[in-house]
Amino acid sequence: MGIGDVKGESDGALVVRVLDGDTDAFAGLVARYRDRLGRYAVRMLGNTADAEEALQDAFVRAYRSLARCSDPERFGAWLFGILVNRCRTVGGQRAKRQRLVSPDEPALARASVPHSEDREALREAIEWAVAQLSPSNREAFLLKHVEELSYDEMTELTGASVSALKMRVARAREELRRLLTEAESV
């Protein structure tokens, strides 16, 4: 699935309406992309509060800079790029906070992963494991395997080269396999 697979009034039409002064038309863009991008933000940042902060910031920044969206029909891809950057910023701020208040959170999280193989246990395990990845590897893994973007699309969003992204994805997969096995044995 590409970034811009949407139905209804096109992104370009909505962008033009907003630029023509119909601010309410932006609500259509918010409704269109909130869930898709919200999922990425939650998976990237690990909690809904930070994800909503990053996503709201991305929407507002996109609105303010809407005239700089060079291809309105690809508004979704443009917005996604803004969100990727916001997640990096919010994630970095959170990491600083956590270093102060929760120095051993990974160990705490690992201890809380149940042994059972049921669906909820696997959900907790994969979410925990994804959270252990480095931000750059996590970002590449989510864009590739969860958002199912092509490497070219990922390059556009992240600014990283295809070869660098492939290496990050491979490392992320290797690390996740190891972490899932580790969680299973705890």
Binding site: V30, G38, R43, T48, A67, S70, D71, L122, I126
Partner: protein, 188 residues
């Protein structure tokens, strides 16, 4: 491509499941946007010019035409001041396309009721090439098919006031003594 891992694959499928944002999320976003400065819309007509080029239509502009294009960005900004709301600026562009294709003329005149493009290509007839208001903040635009050549043109605001692009090549040879500019399309 990737080494298969059933557990990891099942985990990825779980990560693809929808997340649930706060029901008030959209409202919060729109509330913040309502208090934000409105995005500037005048850049949008330039996209059309970019689209023409992206579609592979060759653009041929003589040095004089290039001057006219560049000049248009600031030209009406100066002379169109009387049609602007206080504090507003008025960028404008005249974009050329391939010989035999179209030229886009754009000006910003928020307080104008009508704007027409007049020039050699329409015998300077008021109303023959009306410009359309394309943005809420007073952007007027029209596209005109033009063969290669040199054209004098001006903007006619509210049917009475003539505007040229002041930093574009002036039409010094206007026999009627009205302000006008020159755009050159193709190689002469």
């Amino acid at each position: 491509m990737f080494e298969r891992d059933e557990k990891l694959d099942r985990g990825v499928e779980l990560l693809k499941e929808p997340v649930h944002l706060d029901p008030g999320f959209d409202r919060r976003v729109m509330a913040e946007i309502a208090s934000a400065p409105r995005p500037r819309a005048w850049v949008r007509p330039i996209w059309a010019g970019i689209e023409w080029m992206r579609r592979g239509r060759p653009v041929t502009v003589s040095p004089l035409g290039g001057l006219a294009m560049a000049a248009g960005v600031a030209a009406v900004l100066l002379l169109g001041r009387s049609w602007l709301a206080p504090g507003e600026t008025a960028p404008a562009t005249a974009t050329t396309a391939a010989p035999g294709s179209v030229v886009q003329f754009v000006i910003v005149a928020p307080a104008a009721s009508t704007v027409s493009l007049v020039g050699d290509f329409n015998d300077w007839m008021n109303g023959a090439t009306p410009m359309e208001r394309v943005a809420g903040n007073g952007v007027w635009s029209v596209t005109v098919p033009l063969e290669p050549g040199r054209y004098r043109y001006a903007y006619l605001v509210d049917g009475t006031t003539w505007l040229s692009d002041p930093s574009a090549p002036p039409a010094l040879d206007d026999e009627f003594g009205r302000p006008g500019s020159v755009v050159t399309i193709g190689e002469l």
